[in-house]
Amino acid sequence: MKTWKLSTLDALFAAIAGKQTLYIPADVAGQPVFARWEPGLAMTRALNTGRSAKDLFFPQVEDLARFRVAGKTVSVSPAQALQEPFVIFGVRACDCRSFDILDSVFLAEPADTFYQARREQATVVTLACSQPEETCFCTSLGIDPQAPGGDVSCWMAEDTLYLQANTEKGEALLASLPRLEDGEKPDADSSVFDKLPLKDLDFSAFSGKALMDWFNSPVWERLSQSCLGCGSCTFVCPTCQCYDVRDFDTGHGVQRYRCWDSCMYSDFTMMAHGTNRPTQKERFRQRFMHKLVYHPNNHGGQIGCVGCGRCLQKCPISMNIVKVANALKEGKA
Protein backbone atom coordinates (compact mmCIF):
# COMPACT_ATOMS: atom_id res chain seq x y z
CA MET A 1 0.00 0.00 0.00
CA LYS A 2 1.24 3.48 -0.94
CA THR A 3 0.62 6.83 0.68
CA TRP A 4 0.42 10.48 -0.33
CA LYS A 5 -0.10 13.58 1.79
CA LEU A 6 -3.61 14.94 1.34
CA SER A 7 -2.33 18.48 1.70
CA THR A 8 -0.56 18.05 -1.61
CA LEU A 9 -3.38 16.23 -3.41
CA ASP A 10 -3.10 18.82 -6.16
CA ALA A 11 0.43 17.67 -6.89
CA LEU A 12 -0.79 14.08 -7.22
CA PHE A 13 -3.43 15.20 -9.71
CA ALA A 14 -0.82 17.19 -11.61
CA ALA A 15 1.47 14.15 -11.75
CA ILE A 16 -1.33 11.97 -13.17
CA ALA A 17 -2.58 14.66 -15.53
CA GLY A 18 0.95 15.15 -16.83
CA LYS A 19 0.72 11.74 -18.46
CA GLN A 20 -2.94 11.30 -19.30
CA THR A 21 -6.30 12.99 -19.02
CA LEU A 22 -7.61 12.98 -15.47
CA TYR A 23 -11.20 13.31 -14.31
CA ILE A 24 -12.05 14.09 -10.72
CA PRO A 25 -15.36 14.78 -8.96
CA ALA A 26 -15.49 18.58 -8.73
CA ASP A 27 -18.09 21.30 -8.39
CA VAL A 28 -18.89 22.86 -11.75
CA ALA A 29 -21.51 25.64 -11.67
CA GLY A 30 -22.46 24.45 -8.21
CA GLN A 31 -23.02 20.83 -9.21
CA PRO A 32 -20.65 17.98 -8.34
CA VAL A 33 -19.69 16.22 -11.57
CA PHE A 34 -16.72 14.30 -12.99
CA ALA A 35 -14.72 17.08 -14.62
CA ARG A 36 -11.45 17.16 -16.48
CA TRP A 37 -8.76 18.19 -14.04
CA GLU A 38 -6.93 21.43 -14.64
CA PRO A 39 -4.63 23.21 -12.23
CA GLY A 40 -6.74 24.75 -9.49
CA LEU A 41 -9.70 22.37 -9.80
CA ALA A 42 -10.45 20.96 -6.37
CA MET A 43 -12.35 17.85 -5.40
CA THR A 44 -15.96 18.34 -4.40
CA ARG A 45 -16.94 17.97 -0.77
CA ALA A 46 -20.10 16.18 -1.81
CA LEU A 47 -20.18 12.45 -1.22
CA ASN A 48 -21.01 11.68 -4.81
CA THR A 49 -21.59 13.39 -8.14
CA GLY A 50 -25.08 14.36 -9.26
CA ARG A 51 -24.62 12.60 -12.57
CA SER A 52 -23.02 9.22 -12.26
CA ALA A 53 -19.60 8.08 -13.41
CA LYS A 54 -21.16 6.20 -16.34
CA ASP A 55 -20.88 9.47 -18.31
CA LEU A 56 -17.22 8.75 -18.90
CA PHE A 57 -17.88 5.40 -20.57
CA PHE A 58 -21.33 5.94 -21.98
CA PRO A 59 -21.65 9.68 -22.58
CA GLN A 60 -25.07 11.26 -22.92
CA VAL A 61 -24.44 12.03 -26.57
CA GLU A 62 -21.95 10.32 -28.83
CA ASP A 63 -21.43 10.44 -32.58
CA LEU A 64 -21.57 7.11 -34.38
CA ALA A 65 -21.08 7.98 -38.01
CA ARG A 66 -21.40 10.66 -40.64
CA PHE A 67 -23.23 10.09 -43.87
CA ARG A 68 -23.10 11.94 -47.11
CA VAL A 69 -26.06 11.67 -49.41
CA ALA A 70 -25.71 12.82 -53.00
CA GLY A 71 -28.39 11.97 -55.52
CA LYS A 72 -29.00 8.28 -55.11
CA THR A 73 -25.67 7.55 -53.45
CA VAL A 74 -24.86 7.24 -49.78
CA SER A 75 -21.45 7.10 -48.12
CA VAL A 76 -20.56 6.32 -44.50
CA SER A 77 -17.66 7.44 -42.39
CA PRO A 78 -17.70 5.85 -38.93
CA ALA A 79 -16.72 7.89 -35.91
CA GLN A 80 -13.45 7.01 -34.21
CA ALA A 81 -13.58 5.25 -30.88
CA LEU A 82 -11.54 6.89 -28.13
CA GLN A 83 -7.84 6.09 -28.33
CA GLU A 84 -6.40 8.18 -25.50
CA PRO A 85 -5.84 6.66 -22.09
CA PHE A 86 -7.47 8.46 -19.16
CA VAL A 87 -7.77 8.18 -15.41
CA ILE A 88 -10.94 8.63 -13.45
CA PHE A 89 -10.27 9.43 -9.82
CA GLY A 90 -12.63 9.32 -6.88
CA VAL A 91 -15.16 6.79 -8.08
CA ARG A 92 -17.27 5.49 -5.19
CA ALA A 93 -17.85 1.78 -4.66
CA CYS A 94 -21.42 2.00 -5.97
CA ASP A 95 -20.42 3.63 -9.25
CA CYS A 96 -17.55 1.18 -9.59
CA ARG A 97 -20.01 -1.70 -9.35
CA SER A 98 -22.17 -0.02 -11.96
CA PHE A 99 -19.37 -0.53 -14.48
CA ASP A 100 -19.78 -4.29 -14.05
CA ILE A 101 -23.47 -3.98 -14.78
CA LEU A 102 -22.87 -1.81 -17.83
CA ASP A 103 -20.18 -4.25 -18.97
CA SER A 104 -22.61 -7.13 -18.86
CA VAL A 105 -24.74 -5.30 -21.42
CA PHE A 106 -22.28 -3.39 -23.59
CA LEU A 107 -19.51 -5.98 -23.71
CA ALA A 108 -21.87 -8.89 -24.44
CA GLU A 109 -21.48 -10.15 -28.00
CA PRO A 110 -21.44 -8.21 -30.20
CA ALA A 111 -19.52 -5.75 -28.04
CA ASP A 112 -20.16 -2.05 -28.31
CA THR A 113 -16.78 -0.85 -29.55
CA PHE A 114 -17.21 2.76 -28.44
CA TYR A 115 -17.89 1.67 -24.89
CA GLN A 116 -15.26 -1.04 -25.03
CA ALA A 117 -12.57 1.37 -26.18
CA ARG A 118 -13.30 3.72 -23.27
CA ARG A 119 -13.26 0.86 -20.80
CA GLU A 120 -9.93 -0.32 -22.12
CA GLN A 121 -8.42 3.16 -22.04
CA ALA A 122 -9.60 3.98 -18.54
CA THR A 123 -7.83 3.45 -15.27
CA VAL A 124 -10.43 3.57 -12.51
CA VAL A 125 -9.24 4.93 -9.18
CA THR A 126 -11.88 4.42 -6.53
CA LEU A 127 -12.31 6.16 -3.22
CA ALA A 128 -13.63 4.53 -0.07
CA CYS A 129 -16.58 6.12 1.68
CA SER A 130 -16.44 7.14 5.29
CA GLN A 131 -19.38 9.51 5.56
CA PRO A 132 -22.39 8.04 3.75
CA GLU A 133 -25.67 9.83 3.15
CA GLU A 134 -28.93 8.52 4.53
CA THR A 135 -29.96 7.53 1.00
CA CYS A 136 -27.05 5.10 0.60
CA PHE A 137 -27.91 1.41 0.48
CA CYS A 138 -25.02 -0.15 -1.44
CA THR A 139 -24.31 -2.49 1.47
CA SER A 140 -27.65 -4.21 0.94
CA LEU A 141 -26.50 -5.03 -2.60
CA GLY A 142 -23.35 -6.69 -1.40
CA ILE A 143 -21.08 -3.72 -2.00
CA ASP A 144 -18.49 -2.77 0.58
CA PRO A 145 -18.17 1.04 0.44
CA GLN A 146 -14.93 0.79 2.38
CA ALA A 147 -13.32 -1.58 -0.12
CA PRO A 148 -14.29 0.07 -3.35
CA GLY A 149 -12.35 -1.92 -5.96
CA GLY A 150 -11.43 -0.63 -9.42
CA ASP A 151 -7.87 -0.55 -10.75
CA VAL A 152 -6.66 1.36 -7.70
CA SER A 153 -8.50 1.67 -4.38
CA CYS A 154 -7.96 4.76 -2.27
CA TRP A 155 -8.75 5.64 1.31
CA MET A 156 -8.57 9.02 2.97
CA ALA A 157 -7.71 9.01 6.64
CA GLU A 158 -6.56 11.96 8.71
CA ASP A 159 -4.07 13.76 6.47
CA THR A 160 -3.11 10.84 4.28
CA LEU A 161 -4.30 9.26 1.06
CA TYR A 162 -3.68 5.50 0.92
CA LEU A 163 -3.48 3.85 -2.48
CA GLN A 164 -3.68 0.16 -3.25
CA ALA A 165 -3.31 -1.17 -6.80
CA ASN A 166 -5.72 -4.00 -7.64
CA THR A 167 -4.87 -4.65 -11.28
CA GLU A 168 -1.96 -4.39 -13.66
CA LYS A 169 -3.34 -1.14 -14.97
CA GLY A 170 -3.43 0.12 -11.40
CA GLU A 171 0.14 -1.03 -10.75
CA ALA A 172 1.26 0.80 -13.88
CA LEU A 173 -0.44 3.99 -12.75
CA LEU A 174 1.11 3.89 -9.31
CA ALA A 175 4.50 3.05 -10.77
CA SER A 176 4.29 6.14 -12.96
CA LEU A 177 3.81 8.43 -9.96
CA PRO A 178 6.76 9.93 -8.10
CA ARG A 179 7.25 10.20 -4.35
CA LEU A 180 4.75 7.55 -3.27
CA GLU A 181 5.70 6.23 0.12
CA ASP A 182 4.89 2.86 1.59
CA GLY A 183 2.43 2.69 4.44
CA GLU A 184 -0.48 0.81 5.96
CA LYS A 185 -3.88 2.36 6.37
CA PRO A 186 -5.38 2.37 9.84
CA ASP A 187 -8.54 0.37 10.40
CA ALA A 188 -11.50 2.49 9.47
CA ASP A 189 -14.46 3.05 11.74
CA SER A 190 -17.46 1.47 10.05
CA SER A 191 -20.01 2.07 12.78
CA VAL A 192 -21.85 4.72 10.78
CA PHE A 193 -22.69 2.16 8.09
CA ASP A 194 -24.57 0.15 10.68
CA LYS A 195 -26.76 3.15 11.34
CA LEU A 196 -27.84 3.54 7.69
CA PRO A 197 -31.64 3.44 7.63
CA LEU A 198 -31.82 1.49 4.35
CA LYS A 199 -29.07 -1.01 5.10
CA ASP A 200 -31.40 -3.95 5.60
CA LEU A 201 -33.09 -3.91 2.22
CA ASP A 202 -33.32 -7.42 0.88
CA PHE A 203 -33.27 -7.85 -2.87
CA SER A 204 -32.88 -11.62 -2.85
CA ALA A 205 -36.64 -12.15 -3.17
CA PHE A 206 -36.66 -10.91 -6.75
CA SER A 207 -34.76 -13.80 -8.19
CA GLY A 208 -36.73 -16.32 -6.19
CA LYS A 209 -40.15 -15.87 -7.72
CA ALA A 210 -41.59 -16.16 -11.22
CA LEU A 211 -41.32 -13.11 -13.43
CA MET A 212 -45.06 -12.97 -14.08
CA ASP A 213 -45.89 -12.80 -10.37
CA TRP A 214 -43.92 -9.58 -10.05
CA PHE A 215 -45.21 -8.31 -13.36
CA ASN A 216 -48.83 -8.86 -12.38
CA SER A 217 -48.44 -7.41 -8.89
CA PRO A 218 -51.32 -5.12 -7.94
CA VAL A 219 -48.95 -2.44 -6.64
CA TRP A 220 -47.88 -1.02 -10.02
CA GLU A 221 -51.05 0.97 -10.52
CA ARG A 222 -50.67 2.82 -7.25
CA LEU A 223 -46.92 3.26 -7.40
CA SER A 224 -46.95 4.74 -10.87
CA GLN A 225 -49.92 7.03 -10.44
CA SER A 226 -47.92 10.08 -9.42
CA CYS A 227 -44.97 9.43 -11.77
CA LEU A 228 -44.46 12.48 -13.96
CA GLY A 229 -42.88 10.48 -16.76
CA CYS A 230 -39.72 12.55 -16.72
CA GLY A 231 -36.32 10.99 -17.17
CA SER A 232 -34.49 12.19 -14.05
CA CYS A 233 -34.18 8.77 -12.45
CA THR A 234 -32.92 7.15 -15.63
CA PHE A 235 -30.44 9.88 -16.45
CA VAL A 236 -28.83 10.08 -13.03
CA CYS A 237 -28.88 6.29 -12.64
CA PRO A 238 -25.42 4.72 -12.99
CA THR A 239 -26.85 1.50 -14.41
CA CYS A 240 -29.46 2.80 -16.86
CA GLN A 241 -28.10 2.05 -20.27
CA CYS A 242 -30.98 2.48 -22.74
CA TYR A 243 -30.18 4.63 -25.71
CA ASP A 244 -31.68 6.06 -28.82
CA VAL A 245 -30.02 6.35 -32.20
CA ARG A 246 -30.93 9.50 -34.09
CA ASP A 247 -29.94 11.35 -37.21
CA PHE A 248 -29.20 15.04 -37.35
CA ASP A 249 -29.12 16.74 -40.71
CA THR A 250 -26.33 19.28 -40.41
CA GLY A 251 -27.04 20.81 -43.79
CA HIS A 252 -23.83 19.34 -45.19
CA GLY A 253 -24.35 15.72 -44.26
CA VAL A 254 -26.11 13.57 -41.75
CA GLN A 255 -24.70 12.92 -38.33
CA ARG A 256 -25.89 9.75 -36.69
CA TYR A 257 -25.53 9.91 -32.94
CA ARG A 258 -26.70 7.96 -30.01
CA CYS A 259 -28.03 9.55 -26.88
CA TRP A 260 -29.43 8.40 -23.59
CA ASP A 261 -33.06 7.49 -23.73
CA SER A 262 -35.53 6.80 -20.98
CA CYS A 263 -38.06 4.01 -20.72
CA MET A 264 -40.17 6.55 -18.81
CA TYR A 265 -40.76 8.55 -22.01
CA SER A 266 -43.96 8.08 -23.97
CA ASP A 267 -42.18 7.69 -27.29
CA PHE A 268 -39.65 5.12 -26.08
CA THR A 269 -41.46 2.23 -27.75
CA MET A 270 -43.59 4.26 -30.14
CA MET A 271 -43.95 2.65 -33.54
CA ALA A 272 -45.93 3.62 -36.59
CA HIS A 273 -48.96 1.71 -35.33
CA GLY A 274 -48.71 2.82 -31.69
CA THR A 275 -46.90 1.77 -28.57
CA ASN A 276 -46.95 -1.44 -26.58
CA ARG A 277 -46.56 0.49 -23.31
CA PRO A 278 -49.38 3.01 -23.67
CA THR A 279 -49.63 4.42 -20.14
CA GLN A 280 -47.17 5.53 -17.49
CA LYS A 281 -47.99 2.40 -15.53
CA GLU A 282 -46.41 0.14 -18.17
CA ARG A 283 -43.39 2.42 -18.58
CA PHE A 284 -42.85 2.70 -14.85
CA ARG A 285 -43.19 -1.06 -14.47
CA GLN A 286 -40.72 -1.64 -17.28
CA ARG A 287 -38.05 0.41 -15.52
CA PHE A 288 -38.29 -1.34 -12.19
CA MET A 289 -38.95 -4.80 -13.61
CA HIS A 290 -35.81 -4.33 -15.65
CA LYS A 291 -33.71 -3.39 -12.63
CA LEU A 292 -35.13 -5.97 -10.24
CA VAL A 293 -36.16 -8.93 -12.39
CA TYR A 294 -35.24 -8.85 -16.07
CA HIS A 295 -31.61 -7.85 -15.65
CA PRO A 296 -30.93 -10.39 -12.90
CA ASN A 297 -32.67 -13.10 -14.95
CA ASN A 298 -30.38 -12.41 -17.89
CA HIS A 299 -27.17 -11.82 -15.94
CA GLY A 300 -26.80 -14.43 -13.28
CA GLY A 301 -28.85 -12.79 -10.57
CA GLN A 302 -27.06 -9.43 -10.73
CA ILE A 303 -29.55 -6.77 -9.58
CA GLY A 304 -29.53 -3.73 -11.85
CA CYS A 305 -29.07 -1.32 -8.97
CA VAL A 306 -26.00 -0.30 -6.98
CA GLY A 307 -27.64 1.55 -4.11
CA CYS A 308 -26.10 4.93 -4.86
CA GLY A 309 -29.29 6.68 -3.79
CA ARG A 310 -29.34 9.19 -6.64
CA CYS A 311 -32.92 8.39 -7.63
CA LEU A 312 -33.94 8.86 -3.99
CA GLN A 313 -32.47 12.34 -4.06
CA LYS A 314 -33.49 13.43 -7.52
CA CYS A 315 -36.99 12.15 -8.20
CA PRO A 316 -39.33 15.17 -8.31
CA ILE A 317 -42.05 13.24 -6.53
CA SER A 318 -39.87 11.01 -4.35
CA MET A 319 -40.77 7.71 -5.92
CA ASN A 320 -37.79 5.41 -6.12
CA ILE A 321 -36.48 1.88 -6.29
CA VAL A 322 -36.52 1.45 -2.51
CA LYS A 323 -40.23 2.25 -2.28
CA VAL A 324 -40.95 0.05 -5.27
CA ALA A 325 -38.96 -2.91 -3.97
CA ASN A 326 -40.61 -2.71 -0.56
CA ALA A 327 -44.10 -2.36 -1.98
CA LEU A 328 -43.56 -5.29 -4.33
CA LYS A 329 -42.39 -7.53 -1.53
CA GLU A 330 -45.26 -6.52 0.74
CA GLY A 331 -47.70 -6.85 -2.13
CA LYS A 332 -49.32 -3.54 -1.31
CA ALA A 333 -48.54 0.08 -2.05
Binding site: F67, P78, T113, L211, M212, D247, T269, M289
Partner: protein, 277 residues
Protein backbone atom coordinates in the same frame (compact mmCIF):
# COMPACT_ATOMS: atom_id res chain seq x y z
CA UNK B 1 -7.27 -2.49 -28.51
CA UNK B 2 -10.28 -3.44 -30.52
CA UNK B 3 -10.73 -1.28 -33.57
CA UNK B 4 -13.26 -3.37 -35.45
CA UNK B 5 -16.18 -1.58 -36.98
CA UNK B 6 -18.89 -1.04 -34.43
CA UNK B 7 -21.96 -3.21 -34.99
CA UNK B 8 -24.06 -0.05 -35.09
CA UNK B 9 -22.24 1.17 -38.20
CA UNK B 10 -24.07 0.03 -41.33
CA UNK B 11 -22.81 -0.82 -44.80
CA UNK B 12 -24.06 0.85 -47.94
CA UNK B 13 -26.29 -1.22 -50.18
CA UNK B 14 -28.24 -0.61 -53.33
CA UNK B 15 -31.84 -1.21 -54.32
CA UNK B 16 -31.86 -2.80 -57.75
CA UNK B 17 -35.50 -3.59 -58.23
CA UNK B 18 -38.79 -2.50 -56.74
CA UNK B 19 -41.99 -4.45 -57.25
CA UNK B 20 -45.40 -3.13 -56.23
CA UNK B 21 -47.17 -6.09 -54.64
CA UNK B 22 -50.29 -4.46 -53.32
CA UNK B 23 -51.46 -0.86 -53.06
CA UNK B 24 -49.34 -0.40 -49.92
CA UNK B 25 -46.72 -3.14 -50.08
CA UNK B 26 -43.62 -3.03 -52.24
CA UNK B 27 -40.85 -5.60 -52.45
CA UNK B 28 -37.31 -4.24 -52.63
CA UNK B 29 -34.40 -6.19 -54.04
CA UNK B 30 -31.16 -5.20 -52.30
CA UNK B 31 -27.55 -5.98 -53.18
CA UNK B 32 -24.21 -4.75 -51.89
CA UNK B 33 -22.23 -2.13 -53.79
CA UNK B 34 -20.32 -4.99 -55.38
CA UNK B 35 -23.57 -6.25 -56.88
CA UNK B 36 -23.55 -9.37 -54.74
CA UNK B 37 -25.81 -10.55 -51.96
CA UNK B 38 -24.75 -8.49 -48.93
CA UNK B 39 -25.16 -11.13 -46.19
CA UNK B 40 -26.13 -14.71 -45.44
CA UNK B 41 -29.13 -15.30 -43.22
CA UNK B 42 -31.48 -17.86 -41.70
CA UNK B 43 -35.18 -17.68 -42.63
CA UNK B 44 -36.93 -15.40 -40.14
CA UNK B 45 -33.94 -13.18 -39.46
CA UNK B 46 -34.14 -9.44 -39.92
CA UNK B 47 -31.96 -6.58 -41.06
CA UNK B 48 -31.82 -2.86 -40.32
CA UNK B 49 -32.45 -0.68 -43.33
CA UNK B 50 -31.90 3.01 -43.05
CA UNK B 51 -31.76 6.20 -44.98
CA UNK B 52 -29.54 8.75 -43.24
CA UNK B 53 -31.65 11.68 -42.17
CA UNK B 54 -34.88 9.70 -42.42
CA UNK B 55 -34.39 6.92 -39.91
CA UNK B 56 -33.50 3.32 -39.38
CA UNK B 57 -35.91 0.44 -38.99
CA UNK B 58 -35.92 -3.32 -38.77
CA UNK B 59 -37.37 -5.47 -41.56
CA UNK B 60 -37.75 -9.19 -42.08
CA UNK B 61 -35.69 -10.58 -44.89
CA UNK B 62 -38.35 -11.91 -47.26
CA UNK B 63 -36.14 -13.79 -49.65
CA UNK B 64 -34.97 -17.31 -48.95
CA UNK B 65 -31.32 -17.93 -48.02
CA UNK B 66 -31.27 -20.24 -51.02
CA UNK B 67 -31.44 -17.21 -53.22
CA UNK B 68 -27.79 -16.51 -53.88
CA UNK B 69 -28.04 -13.22 -55.72
CA UNK B 70 -29.84 -10.72 -53.54
CA UNK B 71 -31.95 -10.02 -50.48
CA UNK B 72 -35.59 -9.09 -50.74
CA UNK B 73 -37.69 -7.10 -48.32
CA UNK B 74 -41.48 -6.84 -48.61
CA UNK B 75 -42.41 -3.63 -46.89
CA UNK B 76 -45.73 -2.09 -46.07
CA UNK B 77 -46.05 1.68 -46.13
CA UNK B 78 -46.91 2.78 -42.62
CA UNK B 79 -44.31 5.07 -41.01
CA UNK B 80 -41.37 7.39 -41.59
CA UNK B 81 -38.84 5.05 -43.11
CA UNK B 82 -41.37 2.99 -45.06
CA UNK B 83 -42.92 6.12 -46.58
CA UNK B 84 -39.50 7.09 -47.79
CA UNK B 85 -38.83 3.60 -49.14
CA UNK B 86 -42.07 3.65 -51.08
CA UNK B 87 -41.05 6.87 -52.79
CA UNK B 88 -37.61 5.76 -54.04
CA UNK B 89 -36.62 4.40 -57.43
CA UNK B 90 -34.28 1.54 -58.37
CA UNK B 91 -30.64 2.53 -58.13
CA UNK B 92 -31.15 4.26 -54.78
CA UNK B 93 -28.53 3.47 -52.18
CA UNK B 94 -29.37 2.99 -48.54
CA UNK B 95 -27.66 1.49 -45.53
CA UNK B 96 -27.98 -2.02 -44.25
CA UNK B 97 -26.83 -3.94 -41.21
CA UNK B 98 -27.59 -7.38 -39.89
CA UNK B 99 -28.72 -10.09 -40.01
CA UNK B 100 -30.30 -10.01 -36.57
CA UNK B 101 -32.26 -12.42 -34.45
CA UNK B 102 -32.55 -16.16 -34.15
CA UNK B 103 -34.59 -17.14 -37.20
CA UNK B 104 -36.85 -20.15 -37.53
CA UNK B 105 -35.45 -23.59 -36.60
CA UNK B 106 -35.62 -24.79 -40.21
CA UNK B 107 -32.60 -27.05 -39.85
CA UNK B 108 -33.52 -28.51 -36.49
CA UNK B 109 -37.03 -28.60 -35.08
CA UNK B 110 -38.80 -28.28 -38.43
CA UNK B 111 -36.99 -31.20 -40.07
CA UNK B 112 -39.35 -33.97 -41.10
CA UNK B 113 -42.38 -32.14 -39.77
CA UNK B 114 -45.67 -31.41 -41.47
CA UNK B 115 -45.74 -27.63 -41.62
CA UNK B 116 -48.74 -25.36 -41.38
CA UNK B 117 -48.07 -21.74 -42.28
CA UNK B 118 -50.63 -19.17 -41.19
CA UNK B 119 -50.21 -15.59 -42.31
CA UNK B 120 -52.26 -12.42 -42.36
CA UNK B 121 -51.57 -9.40 -44.57
CA UNK B 122 -47.94 -8.30 -44.53
CA UNK B 123 -47.35 -11.13 -42.04
CA UNK B 124 -46.52 -13.25 -45.06
CA UNK B 125 -43.21 -11.37 -45.44
CA UNK B 126 -41.18 -13.29 -42.83
CA UNK B 127 -42.92 -16.57 -43.71
CA UNK B 128 -42.14 -16.29 -47.39
CA UNK B 129 -38.49 -16.79 -46.58
CA UNK B 130 -39.28 -20.02 -44.74
CA UNK B 131 -41.78 -21.26 -47.34
CA UNK B 132 -39.31 -20.82 -50.17
CA UNK B 133 -36.57 -22.43 -48.12
CA UNK B 134 -38.83 -25.40 -47.46
CA UNK B 135 -39.78 -25.57 -51.15
CA UNK B 136 -36.09 -25.62 -52.06
CA UNK B 137 -35.31 -28.46 -49.66
CA UNK B 138 -38.68 -30.10 -50.18
CA UNK B 139 -37.47 -33.61 -49.27
CA UNK B 140 -36.47 -32.57 -45.75
CA UNK B 141 -40.00 -31.71 -44.67
CA UNK B 142 -43.44 -33.35 -44.64
CA UNK B 143 -46.59 -31.84 -46.04
CA UNK B 144 -46.99 -28.07 -46.32
CA UNK B 145 -50.22 -26.18 -45.76
CA UNK B 146 -50.42 -22.45 -46.20
CA UNK B 147 -53.33 -20.42 -44.90
CA UNK B 148 -53.05 -16.85 -46.02
CA UNK B 149 -55.57 -14.09 -45.60
CA UNK B 150 -55.75 -10.43 -46.42
CA UNK B 151 -58.31 -7.64 -46.46
CA UNK B 152 -58.94 -8.05 -50.18
CA UNK B 153 -57.56 -9.84 -53.19
CA UNK B 154 -55.45 -6.77 -54.01
CA UNK B 155 -53.88 -6.92 -50.55
CA UNK B 156 -52.54 -10.45 -50.95
CA UNK B 157 -48.78 -10.03 -51.03
CA UNK B 158 -46.92 -12.14 -53.61
CA UNK B 159 -50.23 -13.23 -55.13
CA UNK B 160 -48.60 -13.98 -58.48
CA UNK B 161 -45.89 -16.16 -56.95
CA UNK B 162 -48.51 -17.96 -54.89
CA UNK B 163 -50.68 -18.68 -57.94
CA UNK B 164 -47.98 -19.56 -60.42
CA UNK B 165 -45.61 -21.46 -58.18
CA UNK B 166 -46.79 -22.42 -54.72
CA UNK B 167 -50.26 -23.60 -55.83
CA UNK B 168 -48.83 -25.78 -58.54
CA UNK B 169 -46.43 -27.78 -56.47
CA UNK B 170 -47.21 -31.24 -55.14
CA UNK B 171 -47.55 -31.55 -51.43
CA UNK B 172 -48.24 -27.84 -50.95
CA UNK B 173 -51.81 -26.87 -50.15
CA UNK B 174 -52.58 -23.19 -50.32
CA UNK B 175 -55.72 -21.89 -48.62
CA UNK B 176 -56.39 -18.25 -49.43
CA UNK B 177 -59.03 -16.09 -47.82
CA UNK B 178 -60.09 -12.46 -47.93
CA UNK B 179 -62.05 -10.51 -45.36
CA UNK B 180 -64.99 -9.41 -47.52
CA UNK B 181 -66.64 -10.78 -50.67
CA UNK B 182 -65.35 -9.39 -53.95
CA UNK B 183 -66.82 -9.86 -57.48
CA UNK B 184 -63.68 -11.40 -58.99
CA UNK B 185 -62.94 -13.66 -56.03
CA UNK B 186 -64.14 -17.22 -55.99
CA UNK B 187 -62.12 -18.44 -53.04
CA UNK B 188 -62.89 -18.43 -49.36
CA UNK B 189 -64.17 -15.31 -47.63
CA UNK B 190 -63.67 -14.78 -43.90
CA UNK B 191 -61.09 -14.08 -41.24
CA UNK B 192 -58.03 -16.26 -40.83
CA UNK B 193 -58.79 -17.60 -37.30
CA UNK B 194 -62.20 -18.94 -38.36
CA UNK B 195 -60.83 -20.34 -41.59
CA UNK B 196 -58.17 -22.23 -39.68
CA UNK B 197 -60.85 -23.75 -37.48
CA UNK B 198 -63.00 -24.65 -40.50
CA UNK B 199 -60.07 -26.38 -42.16
CA UNK B 200 -59.65 -28.52 -39.02
CA UNK B 201 -56.03 -29.39 -39.54
CA UNK B 202 -54.42 -32.51 -38.24
CA UNK B 203 -52.92 -31.71 -34.83
CA UNK B 204 -49.58 -33.32 -35.65
CA UNK B 205 -48.51 -30.31 -37.66
CA UNK B 206 -45.99 -27.69 -36.64
CA UNK B 207 -47.48 -24.23 -37.02
CA UNK B 208 -45.59 -21.16 -38.23
CA UNK B 209 -47.65 -18.05 -37.81
CA UNK B 210 -47.28 -14.35 -38.46
CA UNK B 211 -49.73 -11.53 -38.72
CA UNK B 212 -51.28 -8.74 -36.72
CA UNK B 213 -51.32 -9.41 -32.93
CA UNK B 214 -55.10 -9.70 -32.91
CA UNK B 215 -54.98 -12.42 -35.58
CA UNK B 216 -52.30 -14.28 -33.65
CA UNK B 217 -54.35 -14.17 -30.45
CA UNK B 218 -57.55 -15.51 -32.03
CA UNK B 219 -55.84 -18.04 -34.26
CA UNK B 220 -53.94 -19.41 -31.31
CA UNK B 221 -57.22 -19.85 -29.44
CA UNK B 222 -58.65 -21.64 -32.48
CA UNK B 223 -55.63 -23.91 -32.77
CA UNK B 224 -55.87 -24.81 -29.10
CA UNK B 225 -59.53 -25.65 -29.65
CA UNK B 226 -58.47 -27.99 -32.45
CA UNK B 227 -56.08 -29.67 -30.03
CA UNK B 228 -52.77 -28.04 -30.93
CA UNK B 229 -50.30 -27.46 -28.11
CA UNK B 230 -48.51 -24.13 -27.70
CA UNK B 231 -45.13 -25.77 -28.18
CA UNK B 232 -46.16 -26.66 -31.74
CA UNK B 233 -46.68 -23.04 -32.69
CA UNK B 234 -43.95 -20.62 -33.75
CA UNK B 235 -44.43 -16.95 -34.40
CA UNK B 236 -42.32 -13.92 -35.05
CA UNK B 237 -42.62 -10.53 -33.36
CA UNK B 238 -41.60 -7.03 -34.07
CA UNK B 239 -41.27 -4.17 -31.63
CA UNK B 240 -39.57 -0.79 -31.71
CA UNK B 241 -35.82 -1.25 -32.01
CA UNK B 242 -32.88 1.06 -32.24
CA UNK B 243 -29.82 -1.16 -31.97
CA UNK B 244 -31.04 -4.69 -32.77
CA UNK B 245 -28.15 -5.88 -30.58
CA UNK B 246 -29.92 -6.29 -27.24
CA UNK B 247 -28.45 -3.09 -25.80
CA UNK B 248 -30.73 -0.13 -26.48
CA UNK B 249 -33.24 -1.64 -24.12
CA UNK B 250 -36.68 -1.20 -25.66
CA UNK B 251 -37.78 -4.27 -27.62
CA UNK B 252 -38.06 -6.55 -24.61
CA UNK B 253 -41.06 -8.67 -23.78
CA UNK B 254 -40.34 -9.41 -20.16
CA UNK B 255 -36.71 -10.49 -19.93
CA UNK B 256 -36.50 -11.52 -23.58
CA UNK B 257 -35.25 -9.14 -26.24
CA UNK B 258 -37.07 -9.52 -29.53
CA UNK B 259 -33.96 -8.48 -31.45
CA UNK B 260 -31.61 -10.94 -29.81
CA UNK B 261 -33.70 -13.73 -28.24
CA UNK B 262 -36.34 -13.46 -31.00
CA UNK B 263 -37.88 -12.42 -33.26
CA UNK B 264 -38.99 -16.06 -33.50
CA UNK B 265 -40.60 -17.45 -30.38
CA UNK B 266 -42.29 -20.76 -29.71
CA UNK B 267 -45.57 -19.83 -28.11
CA UNK B 268 -45.11 -21.92 -24.99
CA UNK B 269 -42.20 -19.55 -24.18
CA UNK B 270 -44.64 -16.66 -24.25
CA UNK B 271 -46.86 -18.00 -21.49
CA UNK B 272 -44.18 -17.03 -18.99
CA UNK B 273 -43.81 -13.57 -20.46
CA UNK B 274 -45.96 -10.45 -20.18
CA UNK B 275 -48.53 -9.58 -22.78
CA UNK B 276 -46.66 -6.41 -23.77
CA UNK B 277 -46.62 -6.67 -27.55
Amino acid sequence: MNLTRDPLIPMVAQVTDIRADTPDVKTFRVVGLDGKKPMEHIPGQCAMLSMPGVGEALFSITSSPTNEDYLEFSIKKCGCVTNWLHAIEPGQQLTLRGPYGNGFPVDTDFLGKDLLFIAGGIGLAPLRSVINYVRHYRERYGSVDIVYGARSKEDLVDYQEILTQWCREDGIHVHLTIDNPQPDWEGHVGFVPNYVKELAFDTGKTVVMCGPPIMIKFTLAGLEELGFRRDQVYTTFELKMKCALGKCGRCNIGDKYVCKDGPVFRLDQMTQLPDEY
